[in-house]
Symmetry: C2
Subunit: 281 residues, 2 copies
């Protein structure tokens, strides 16, 4: 696996592979990889002639009081995992390589970025949209792979790609979970043993709501209340949001007339976890 | 010359030409072409294997009280001119093709877009950056050509391309002028005969200031005052701005220690004209 710290190097790699007629799949990550990430790589490996991954903890998508400095990092382990899963080239730039002095341009998708995680994390999706635009322009992949766990991120990126006519196909890959249902996340490592034992309640409460919706409940507020009620009884959990929103435009929804996103964010101490499920009707 | 109203058509054209190993030059315009535009085409024709032009009056870059509806249009004349100058394909999309229902994403370059024309025309450069991003993603040119008359636009686009790592080279082409020095502009057609007779004062005042700067004057305020004084004596002219700003970052400048941009915008009745000159030191 080729490791490229410079933009010119990864561009050169991609140019050569495209010159050989290969399609290029791209898996952007912030590192500290888990099986959610390797599922993205496996999917890309199956669909593309060349697979590029990136590891870049993007300062632009963290708020001033968020965990950029403490975000977990383990480059050697990540590198070995990506190599093992068959990644051809890893783009691993420094912050200075991505954001040189004087950097100021940004990309915004205001229609989708103001609610859910965007309300709790102002500027987050602007940082995501901007770095993803940069990574797409650098790597110029044919397809890029994102995890459905970050459902709003997937919708923002799909909308940005569509609105700006970016020549890349976005592939959303189902959330990978621990045995007990907790969605894989690099931030799970922050959880204390007690918090870790409680955390599966997130997905269980989503599943319960999905079952009730599948049973005929169409009132979004009642479904949300059900989830909130369940979560509020958990020791040490504090709800950031529980919401049902339309797909793909994330509008507020009172009645479920078409598939909708039930999404939540919950804090365990300082650790903020998110999860979501699509309510089929 | 191929005329493409659909994104898929122009993409198909470019893909084929690139497949033949040709470099692609791109000249984006809002139509109502003049010799400033044909200078861009000539430059592209000399440097690239295939030349694509676009005509699109971009509503996003016009303010609510600006001249979008009245902006001059003459497609048949434009088409003939582009064909005569050797353009291979013309992208001529509808507003609906570029901005389908629900469009919301935009690109901003706040560091450069808030001053000069950006102050008089809030949202203008956001509209420019957004449409140029779309056009670049659609056409995927190797090089794109812009006129130096719109100096701030060139700087905004170069900064955007650099910050977002867009794989395109921006070429700025010198302003083309009428015999009497008036910069070519599609909006010159709005001028009454009297206004047209006065309008060359814009470039004459810029040239005077450049001569005084070349003669050793380093005080930006004095140079600006010289130009303002000259313009204020013109019948029917109303100054929007006259400013000297650093290159390429458009910071306010008190002393000329390096080449700087002297730029102005002046209204003749409802018609707003701009011009600029680089002060060499």
């Amino acid at each position: 696996m080729l490791i490229c710290e410079k933009i010119a190097e990864i561009r050169d790699f991609v140019r050569k592979r495209k010159g050989q007629g290969k399609t290029v799949g791209f898996v952007p990550t912030m590192g500290y990889l888990h099986r959610g990430h390797t599922a993205l790589v496996e999917r890309a490996r199956g669909e593309c002639g060349a697979v590029v991954a990136s590891i870049f903890v993007n300062p632009l998508q963290f708020g001033p009081k968020e965990d950029f400095a403490e975000y977990p990092r383990d480059f050697d382990r990540d590198r070995r995992m990506l190599e093992e899963y068959g990644v051809d080239a890893l783009f691993y730039p420094s912050v200075g390589e991505m954001y040189p002095c004087g950097f100021c341009t940004h990309v915004e998708v205001p229609g989708l970025a103001g609610c859910l995680c965007g309300r709790s994390r102002p500027g987050h999706f602007r940082g995501v949209a901007t770095v993803v635009t940069k990574l797409f322009n650098i790597v110029q992949p044919d397809r890029a792979y994102f995890g459905q766990k970050d459902a709003q991120q997937v919708l923002v990126i799909k909308k940005m790609v569509e609105d700006l006519n970016m020549p890349v196909e976005i592939v959303a890959v189902p959330t990978v979970r621990e045995e007990d249902g907790l969605a894989m996340s690099s931030r799970n490592v922050y959880l204390s043993p007690d918090q870790r034992a409680e955390a599966p309640v997130l997905y269980r409460s989503l599943q319960e709501a999905a079952r009730v919706a599948a049973g005929g409940e169409r009132d979004a507020r009642r479904l949300v209340e059900m989830v909130r009620d369940r979560l509020s009884r958990v020791n040490g959990a504090s709800i950031d949001y529980v919401e049902i929103r339309s797909l793909p435009d994330l509008k507020e929804t009172e009645r479920l007339d078409s598939p909708a996103l039930l999404a939540l964010a919950v804090r365990f101490g300082k650790t903020r976890l998110i999860d979501n499920i699509v309510l089929e009707v």
